[in-house]
Symmetry: C2
């Protein structure tokens, strides 16, 4: 029975990994993330607009090479990302539009401590172009999902989901914009819960504890997340 906290202060240092404009990074910087502090931005795109947002907030921001592949990291490069995170005492990794699949050292080193946000109600519409997939299918309801990252594509245990109505008049842009509004509320809430020790994972199930429970329950806690199963 160990209680792992990033520091005695109970604060979890967060790194955001992003490839693009960084609107979710911006939302995380602006929001109340409770006991989580946005400490680092890493990007695999040298001129990603998200770098400018990090500068605005005074958050350390680094471009790191992802290696030679287009949709994943090379093993050597990924290890550099892991080392960079560890050197800074990062306790939680938030993917926010990172256009690469994690398969190697990042997953191993930060198992149960990597979050992703996805613009659909998973398991519907995983992968790319989720909003267009939803429109092509003709659903009436879509939304967003924050989940822990595992080896699959958008398959990890779900923390939170929020739903929105799809309108007859929607195109991919308008639907994406409305889902994005929800993402900007949902991701900070998930980070608050994780960093506040309010989540207990049992297999695929993520239980949200009351604030009372979170102060009384002990267990195998990693980065604020109580893992009671595998």
């Amino acid at each position: 029975m160990t209680v792992l906290k990033e520091s005695d202060s109970g604060i979890t240092s967060i790194a955001v990994l992003a490839s693009g404009r960084g609107s979710n990074f911006d939302a995380l910087c602006r929001a109340d993330t409770g006991q989580g502090r946005i400490a680092l931005l890493l990007t695999d795109v040298p001129d990603a607009p998200v770098l400018d947002i990090a500068a605005e907030y005074g958050v350390e921001a680094l471009y790191l090479s992802p290696g030679k592949y287009r949709t994943r990291f090379s093993i050597d490069a990924e290890q550099v990302w892991v080392d960079t995170l560890n050197e800074r005492g990062i306790g939680l990794v938030c993917l926010a539009g990172l256009m690469r699949i994690l398969k190697g050292p990042l997953l191993e080193s930060f198992e149960g401590r990597i979050l992703n946000i996805h613009p659909s109600l998973l398991p519907s519409f995983p992968g790319l172009r989720s909003q267009a997939q939803a429109l092509d299918y003709g659903v009436r309801i879509s939304g967003c999902t924050v989940h822990y990252v595992d080896r699959g594509t958008d398959t990890g245990p779900v923390l939170i989901q929020n739903a929105i109505d799809v309108l007859d008049t929607d195109d991919a842009d308008s639907l994406s914009a409305r889902i994005l509004e929800q993402e900007h509320l949902t991701y900070p809430e998930a980070v608050r819960l994780h960093c506040g020790g309010r989540l207990r994972i049992n297999g695929r199930h993520v239980e949200i504890l009351s604030q009372n429970e979170s102060t009384t329950i002990t267990g195998d806690i990693r980065g604020g997340c109580r893992c009671t199963g595998s």
Copy 2:
């Protein structure tokens, strides 16, 4: 350009096809189905409890043999179902817990005029045990879907969806019960829209017209449903 109505009165006669307890049949009998009238219950189970509900409401109810297979109809048997529907001037078929997949004459004869209700937000969790599938996955949001029936399993164009929260305390029974409450509201609403000529199908997309639009637009209308694409 033809306007197909089941009769000059604008009333669509509805047959419900069910295998079990018939709670959605009951909901359809109790609810305001607008220009739709529940005229017939067909079941493939000789002692299905739904037969008693039909008797309560004074709705004609028939057991018809499904043939020798367990999960689908034999072709000959399915043709008898079609003949029975046609003899009674049925304009809309509502599946309500029919435990068989339609592949043959029913689909051909009633294309675009067969509805089904499914206890999940499709395309998540098609097939059997949807509520248990949702719990196994660990979603936070589920719901129900009314869709037109095509040759796939729960793959047809979506009319309406309604969402509910999945609770940490839910088991399959409690989740099923809360989704069922939504089903009992959602199915009659879908039937009202279809029978009121308020739906326009274009490929996979079902557009809901305002009552004003539904009285001014003409097109290829089948059983109250405007089909503008295939």
